[in-house]
Symmetry: C2
């Protein structure tokens, strides 16, 4: 795992108590896909499957982390916020789970960087999903993030 | 606080580790509005305000709890699942916070009960929000829940 990815995991676990409670891990930044993972046990619900709040938290953090890591790679100092998201719960998750985040269709890092440079802030849509072992979606999240340059 | 509300709080804290980690409380069921609360400290993020995952978790649990408490009042044994939700993060939350859940406009408990009785399952839209001290919305969540009768 590259240093920036390991550093982000350390930051999240140090600064967000709920990330520690979830036992969040960053698995990999593979091309333009960031993968985070969490074990089922601390994230279980009353039915014995994954708690929806944990699924959304991991999905949102994966999307947020994808943007943060790209900005760090550019040596750009920004705050990154989630603005809104749409969540679909499609199937229960009965095992440890991973969340994958990648740019939404039609988005480009180049356009994002150009807007950020010109205006000091830029928005970006990210597509995140938790999949079942057979590849089907269990939970999807489309989220819009905004990055604001620190002056 | 009525017994069913206290019982639901005990159930959530017993069965969902993340509800314990968030230090979730049920404040009141006031008419058709369920209010849940959480302190800031265990739910803080890297910026020192409330973690988005905690906001969404509390909002979703408040909506879910509203439906569950109504079904328990009817002595109807159902599983209740969240199907999808739309979340808007409007302002950072710098203090302990509460989530209010009520039926979405156009929804009625009577229609929900009738469909559930006829078909054994029924859907319901719930409107949930975390407000700032001045009454402005900090985070809103519209969620759709499905109740499925246990045979």
């Amino acid at each position: 795992m590259s240093d920036p990815t390991a550093q982000l995991e350390r930051d999240l676990l140090a600064e967000i108590p709920m990330a520690r409670a979830m036992q969040l891990q960053i698995r990999a930044l593979d091309g333009d896909c960031l993968v985070m993972a969490a074990p089922l046990a601390p994230n279980i619900n009353d039915k014995g499957c994954a708690f929806g709040g944990s699924l959304v938290s991991l999905l949102t953090l994966a999307g947020w982390g994808l943007v943060v890591l790209k900005l760090r790679a550019w040596n750009t100092t920004c705050d990154v916020y989630v603005q809104d998201s749409a969540v679909r719960y499609l199937a229960p998750v009965w095992d440890d789970f991973t969340a994958q985040a990648r740019l939404a269709e039609g988005e480009s890092w180049d356009a994002f960087a150009a807007t950020l440079a010109a205006r000091g802030r830029a928005r970006l849509n990210v597509d995140c999903r938790v999949k079942l072992a057979d590849g089907a979606d269990a939970c999807t999240l489309q989220a819009r993030f905004v990055a604001i340059a620190k002056s």
